[in-house]
């Protein structure tokens, strides 16, 4: 299974902030990518409000997911494809291994897919003795370096050209070079061999079309087309929610996806794949398998508070505008999904307590919703997660993150409902605060149990006399 390191969020974030290379790579991210996407939305003939229509389309798909999915798989089977429903990541991986085994697959080329990161497909294939190559340039760099992607669509965003130059010199046995064009062409050459020799290609699915029975894959590089055209077998993985009912819905969804992901009108390559090559066709895979993955999604679907999250089409626009992501990078989030989308999806998939810091690290500024091509209310769900952490929730198996804090707030709530007690407490605090170190008229450190509040910030001391009492005097 994929490694989950969400518990290390705080420590990793601290490391990331001190990492000069990462900070330089992410500098001005919000202006570079975020602004481009926002401008693209403005130039849509329908304007940025098209996102609201996309939200309605996605919500309707999700609310009828049973019918939409059954239609999709019936049509794919009609086209000659195989479909497998995987309850969890392990089942999905096992199925892929079974297909690989049956066809004596020795070499696999992988088109970029977040679901495959989620289920840890790479490691499982390698363990089975299969040679696996990532083929998206960024993913390939990450694989050579033995790391994990730090951005959904720009996986190697945290690496500099000189790092990549040294990596290629070492792993591909070529002279050191740090020119992005020549490095890209070196990878092009190395990967061409892989594409042509592979027995199996894997891909994800951006957004399937139920009524025609096709998955779609998008890329600018052409690696996914290579992976799904040249090998004998194609295995595609999709989260069970990544399907739209009708072909015409793809008009709005595709346009917004390309703008959200890369501020472009259309990805260089979009493929609708419905099954294996048909009779008489000269190329394309002889077998096509689609793995539909639940892995915790039906639980999200069952909770109306979080159901909306399944509208997500994983474009990564929210990463590009998030002030938190732009500082701490993708690795801090400890799982395949980073940024605002990760801060909601990851806790729901791996456990809310286990990923407690993710939703608390976000700022609630709302930039993620404004840029979301399907207008998902991420801030609302971040708050909902925080509520669960504060109050506990048996349905999600959440224990309150901090019982002391809860007790404190209960005491506070009791006190503020008692006027006299409150006045007395404020007076006492106003006098008592002199005991604590003050600098520049601010309190820099509070005693336990409230010392956490001054860990990262100073707070203003209370006024000597409360507003209410001054008001009363002035009357």
């Amino acid at each position: 299974m994929a490694k989950i390191t969400t518990e290390n969020y705080v420590a990793e974030a601290k490391k990331a902030i001190k990492n000069q290379v990462l900070q330089e790579a992410l500098a001005d991210l919000q202006h570079r990518f975020g602004r481009g996407t926002a401008e693209c939305y403005r130039q849509l003939p329908e304007g940025p409000d098209l996102r609201l229509r996309a939200h309605d389309i996605r919500m309707k798909d999700i609310e009828n997911l049973d019918v939409v999915l059954e239609t999709l798989v019936a049509n794919i089977r009609k086209n000659g494809g195989h479909v497998y429903f995987a309850e969890d990541g392990q089942a999905a991986v096992n199925y892929c291994l079974e297909v690989a085994h049956k066809h004596k697959v020795r070499r696999v080329v992988k088109g970029k897919s977040m679901v495959s990161e989620e289920i840890g497909l790479n490691d499982a294939l390698v363990e089975a003795g299969i040679d696996v190559s990532e083929t998206d340039l960024g993913e390939y760099i990450i694989q050579l370096a033995g790391e994990t992607p730090s951005h959904i669509i720009a996986p190697a965003i945290h690496k500099t050209r000189s790092e990549i130059g040294s990596l290629f010199a070492d792993k591909l046995d070529i002279p050191y070079d740090d020119d992005p064009s020549r490095l890209t062409w070196a990878a092009r050459k190395a990967l061409r061999e892989k594409f042509l020799a592979a027995d199996m290609g894997t891909s994800g699915c951006n957004i399937a079309c139920a009524e025609t029975g096709h998955i779609t894959t998008l890329s600018n590089e052409g690696n996914i087309r290579m992976s799904t055209t040249m090998p004998r077998i194609h295995v595609a993985f999709m989260g069970m929610e990544r399907v739209a009912a009708r072909l015409e819905d793809h008009d709005i969804l595709l346009r917004l996806l390309c703008r959200g992901a890369a501020a472009q009108n259309m990805a260089t390559y979009v493929s609708y794949i419905g099954g294996p090559r048909s009779a008489g066709e000269v190329d394309g895979p002889q077998e096509f398998h689609l793995v539909v993955l639940d892995n915790g999604r039906s639980r999200i679907l069952a909770d109306e508070e979080f159901r909306e999250m399944l509208c997500c089409i994983r474009c990564a626009a929210c990463l590009n505008v998030c002030p938190v992501y732009a500082k701490i990078g993708g690795h801090s989030y400890g799982y395949a999904y980073s940024g605002p989308v990760g801060a909601v999806v990851t806790p729901l998939l791996v456990g809310i307590n286990r990923a407690a810091d993710l939703c608390q690290g976000e700022t609630l500024c709302g930039a993620c919703q404004d840029i979301c091509p399907v207008n998902i209310d991420i801030p609302r769900m971040l708050l909902a997660l925080r509520t669960k952490l504060a109050e506990g929730d048996s349905a999600w198996g959440v224990t309150p993150a901090d019982r002391k804090e809860k007790l404190l707030f209960q005491a506070w709530s009791w006190m503020i409902r008692n006027r006299r007690l409150y006045d007395a407490a404020v007076k006492l605090a106003a006098t008592g605060q002199r005991l604590f170190a003050q600098k520049d008229d601010m309190i820099g450190r509070l005693p336990p149990p409230v010392h956490g509040w001054t860990k990262g910030r100073d707070i203003k001391p209370l006024a000597a006399e409360s507003f209410i009492s001054r008001w009363k005097k002035s009357l």
Binding site: D66, Y84, K159, T184, N220, E248, T268, S271
Partner: protein, 250 residues
């Protein structure tokens, strides 16, 4: 694979949605089979497009093609396309080997270019992805060895400069992918405005909908590219480094 797991999977979704397990698919209105007035309007518009309107679409296409590094060249007739391709073959060198060969679709428009004859003075072989080649088992190698791949297209969407290709016998998908240079030849009346028109045609036009999307429909908008190293744009990541579209206007 086994239907039991599908049934359980779908049941779980129904339970999550709070739907009765026995609910029939018929109750859902998305897959209804009558054409909307909007769609009827779109199909009419495509059918009745005047030559002037088509030229306008071509202009839109050329404008959209610029920023994505797609070269769109309009040609009076098929002979000038043949001449242009012969020039291209002369000017460009192979990326992977020394020998120049070209691979092309078995398609009426492409066959009418008479490329084998036009390229023979340059001693360049033209392979066609026809059934004979497939049966001989050499086709894959020809595609790999060729530095230019020549295809037609079903449609070209002007507003995003996107070619749309479906897969058919004789029209290998690898021809637009594996060679270093992709050349596509289309006729003016294959240009449509946008995705909306495409989907309307594929779903509602009697002829187009009969064929459907086929098992592999590909959109191509320009040459392969990447910006994965320090967000620097580089053309020619894995697919073709150059794409040339010749539009026959007569």
């Amino acid at each position: 694979m086994n239907t039991a797991s599908q049934e359980e999977f779908i049941h779980k979704i129904k339970i999550a949605l709070g739907k009765p397990l026995a609910e029939s698919q018929r109750n859902v209105d998305f897959f209804k089979s009558d054409m909307s007035d909007e769609t009827r309007g779109i199909l009419e518009r495509i059918k009745n497009r005047t030559p002037e309107e088509r030229k306008k679409l071509l202009a839109t296409l050329i404008e959209a093609a610029g920023p994505i590094n797609l070269k769109v060249i309009s040609c009076e007739d098929i002979n000038s396309v043949t001449a242009a391709i012969a020039d291209l073959v002369r000017d460009k060198d192979p990326e992977w080997g020394a020998k120049k060969s070209v691979v092309a679709w078995q398609h009426p428009l492409i066959e009418n270019l008479n490329l084998p004859e036009a390229l023979s003075p340059q001693d360049v072989t033209v392979f066609f992805t026809d059934v004979k080649e497939t049966e001989s088992g050499n086709l894959r190698q020809h595609v790999i060895d060729s530095y230019i791949g020549i295809t037609a297209a079903d449609f070209c969407m002007a507003d995003s400069a996107t070619m749309v290709m479906r897969t058919r016998p004789g029209q290998a998908r690898s021809v637009s992918l594996v060679p270093s240079i992709h050349v596509a030849v289309i006729e003016l009346n294959q240009i449509i405005a946008d995705l909306k028109e495409l989907y309307a045609l594929l779903k509602w036009d009697p002829q187009e909908s009969k064929e459907g999307l086929t098992n592999c429909m590909t959109f191509i908008s320009g040459p392969s590219k990447t910006a994965d190293i320090e967000a620097t744009m580089v053309h020619g990541a894995h697919g073709p480094r150059q794409v040339h579209v010749y539009v026959i206007t007569s």
